[in-house]
């Protein structure tokens, strides 16, 4: 059988194009894969492979300040996710459902936390809390995380609602359900995949945030990224690699779950934003 020649627009079937793609993916993946691989490497110098070991994971686990930082991260991310998911889902539903004056301006304003440089928001939160004489700590970190996660949840939930068939709500009302029953039994179940995806996004954002946390954390409230940062500034050790790998693994699992949910709910064609 004769091999079919690629048509002019089938770029991915051209050899040189495949090479370009391959180089890009090597660029994207080599550093992370190397970091993960070398967290299992049995050598402190960390440049040549000296055999498999888990000892740096054990070490990282027994490093008390590292473990405390991890717990702090979980506390902050847990509370931030709960609050920002509820508030963000309500906002997303409202933006889908209601017309109100100056909606475009409101829309732009609500999405500002997504767009502005993190450093600007970080220093602004610092100025705000110190103006009010609030001591920096887990509380200030959590409050800031909610502020930047909330709009992301709203975007995801609103995108989900775009495919909602409004007549279902009308039918429920016609059949005698009140507003709350309609919401609980018709709207909410449809919203659910969006809410879950939004929550996982908020969780990832909170676990990952460095810059804003850096400006809103106090001496006793180190989160995992802040701790990793302070360790990295001294030297590159396998222990840091191990801690980083744990964080990568957590976010990757969360991401894959989010994407699966979004792919199932079908509306968002795989794009997470």
């Amino acid at each position: 059988m004769r091999k079919v020649r690629p048509t002019p627009l089938e770029y991915t079937r051209k050899k040189w194009f495949q090479l370009v793609l391959l180089l890009n993916f090597i660029f994207l993946y080599f550093p992370i894969v190397a970091l993960i691989a070398f967290s299992f490497n049995n050598s402190r110098r960390n440049i040549t492979w000296k055999g498999f070991t888990l000892k740096y994971y054990v070490k990282a686990f027994h490093n008390e300040s590292l473990f405390d930082a991890f717990l702090n991260s979980l506390i902050v991310a847990g509370i931030s996710t709960a609050v920002s998911t509820v508030l963000g889902a309500m906002l997303g539903l409202a933006l889908y459902r209601f017309k109100f004056p100056a909606k475009n301006a409101f829309d732009g304003w609500i999405h500002l936390p997504i767009i502005i440089p993190e450093i600007c928001m970080g220093v602004a939160m610092l100025a705000f809390f110190s103006r009010l004489n609030i001591t920096l700590g887990l509380f200030t970190i959590t409050v800031s995380h909610i502020a930047f996660s909330l709009p992301f949840v709203a975007v995801v939930v609103r995108a989900r609602m775009a495919g909602f068939d409004h007549s279902l709500e009308e039918a429920a009302r016609d059949l005698g359900a009140n507003q709350w029953q309609t919401f609980k039994d018709v709207t909410l179940p449809y919203m659910m995949p969006g809410i879950v995806a939004g929550a996982l996004l908020a969780l990832t954002l909170s676990l990952d945030d460095f810059v804003i946390t850096f400006f809103t954390s106090g001496p006793g409230s180190t989160t995992l990224p802040i701790k990793i940062f302070s360790m990295v500034r001294f030297s590159v050790t396998p222990e840091v690699n191990a801690a980083s790998t744990v964080l990568i693994a957590i976010t990757l699992i969360l991401t894959v779950v989010t994407m699966t949910i979004q792919a199932r709910s079908g509306k968002n064609k795989g794009l997470p934003l």
């Binding site: 002019p8 627009l9 089938e10 770029y11 991915t12 793609l21 890009n24 993916f25 660029f27 994207l28 993946y29 080599f30 190397a34 970091l35 960390n46 440049i47 508030l87 309500m90 906002l91 889908y96 459902r97 209601f98 017309k99 109100f100 409101f106 304003w109 609500i110 767009i115 502005i116 440089p117 450093i119 600007c120 928001m121 220093v123 602004a124 100025a127 705000f128 103006r131 800031s144 909610i146 909330l150 709009p151 507003q179 990952d208 460095f210 810059v211 990224p225 990793i228 940062f229 990295v232 590159v236 980083s244 964080l247 990568i248 990757l252 991401t255 792919a263 795989g270 794009l271 997470p272």
Partner: protein, 302 residues
């Protein structure tokens, strides 16, 4: 869509809590910084409220303007490299067979979900003097060396000197490109995906080559998406803080680092606030341009 007047209570319940949170814990802090940017630094480094433009004037002094200029320039270079690398990727994915498309997209998106700090830190191990890249170069150098001595050539290669790849400006650019690449690929992919392919096919059928078709059909049609991607990457790179700290040298300070320094060790919050708002204004101008272009291209049918 319902009018909020018809259902005031529900509209209020849904809208007020989130709006209040963003108002109090985002807008108000920014407003404080804005007010501070006209303030004065007290003798102990405290912030005194005043109305002076001194901070903005100071931001435009040569030394600070230099950092601002370097930030813009660095962000622009990173954006261009991102485009050169990312455009073929977006093109490839958009025209890939359906069964590979989602996998390729996932491969582009995944790194952008791993922690920014860790992604940047991972480059240290690649670029440092005893890092992977120098290690690879040394290996290649050794191989070439043996080859040449086999061929009886004199020792033209010399001994291997590791390159200083880390803690300089090019390391910062590499780090920025690395972080921003997915942000460029996704919007361009999204527009290419929606593009009417028959126009490209027509161009190719009528005798234009691949490059000609690319330059006169594909790129103009995908322009809004391309612009979106470029601006996203530019904004992201311009406001970076972490990349110069981890990968840059003493000379690689960008505006984000200057802001952090004023709010940190230098303790000159009014000046830091002014810089912060300069960065915000630049960001807003770019977003405004993007919105203008988007609204203009909306009315055009291809």
């Amino acid at each position: 869509m319902e009018n909020w007047r018809d259902n005031k209570l529900v509209a209020a319940i849904l809208l007020v809590p989130a709006s209040a949170w963003i108002l109090i814990f985002f807008t108000l802090p920014l407003a404080i910084v804005w007010v501070y940017s006209f303030g004065e630094r007290g003798p102990q480094g405290q912030t005194l409220l005043a109305f002076t433009l001194d901070n903005y004037v100071r931001a435009l002094e040569l030394i600070h303007l230099g950092i601002l200029w370097k930030s813009v320039w660095t962000a622009a270079v990173a954006t261009l490299i991102c485009f050169a690398m990312g455009f073929p990727v977006a093109l490839g994915i958009a025209f890939a067979p359906a069964r590979f498309k989602n996998l390729l997209l996932l491969l582009v998106i995944l790194p952008f979900w791993t922690n920014l700090l860790i992604r940047t830190y991972a480059w240290i191990a690649v670029l440092r003097t005893r890092g992977f890249l120098n290690f690879g170069l040394e290996w290649g150098h050794g191989k070439l060396d043996t080859m040449f001595s086999f061929a009886g050539l004199p020792d033209i290669m010399g001994t291997f000197e590791p390159l200083a790849l880390l803690y300089n400006h090019s390391a910062v650019v590499i780090g920025l490109v690395y972080v921003a690449l997915p942000f460029l690929v996704l919007p361009i992919y999204a527009t290419l995906e929606k593009l009417d392919r028959s126009l490209m096919e027509a161009s190719l059928d009528l005798g234009a080559g691949q490059w000609r078709t690319m330059a006169s059909i594909t790129i103009p049609l995908a322009f809004p998406g391309i612009l979106s991607g470029l601006m996203l990457v530019f904004i992201l790179s311009l406001g970076t803080y972490l990349t110069p700290v981890l990968l840059g040298g003493t000379n690689s300070m960008m505006i984000g680092n200057l802001i952090a320094q004023e709010f940190g060790p230098a303790r000159d919050w009014p000046f830091g606030s002014a810089l912060s708002f300069l960065l915000l204004y630049i960001t807003f101008i770019i977003l405004w341009i993007r919105a203008m272009v988007a609204s203009r291209s909306k009315g055009v049918s291809y």
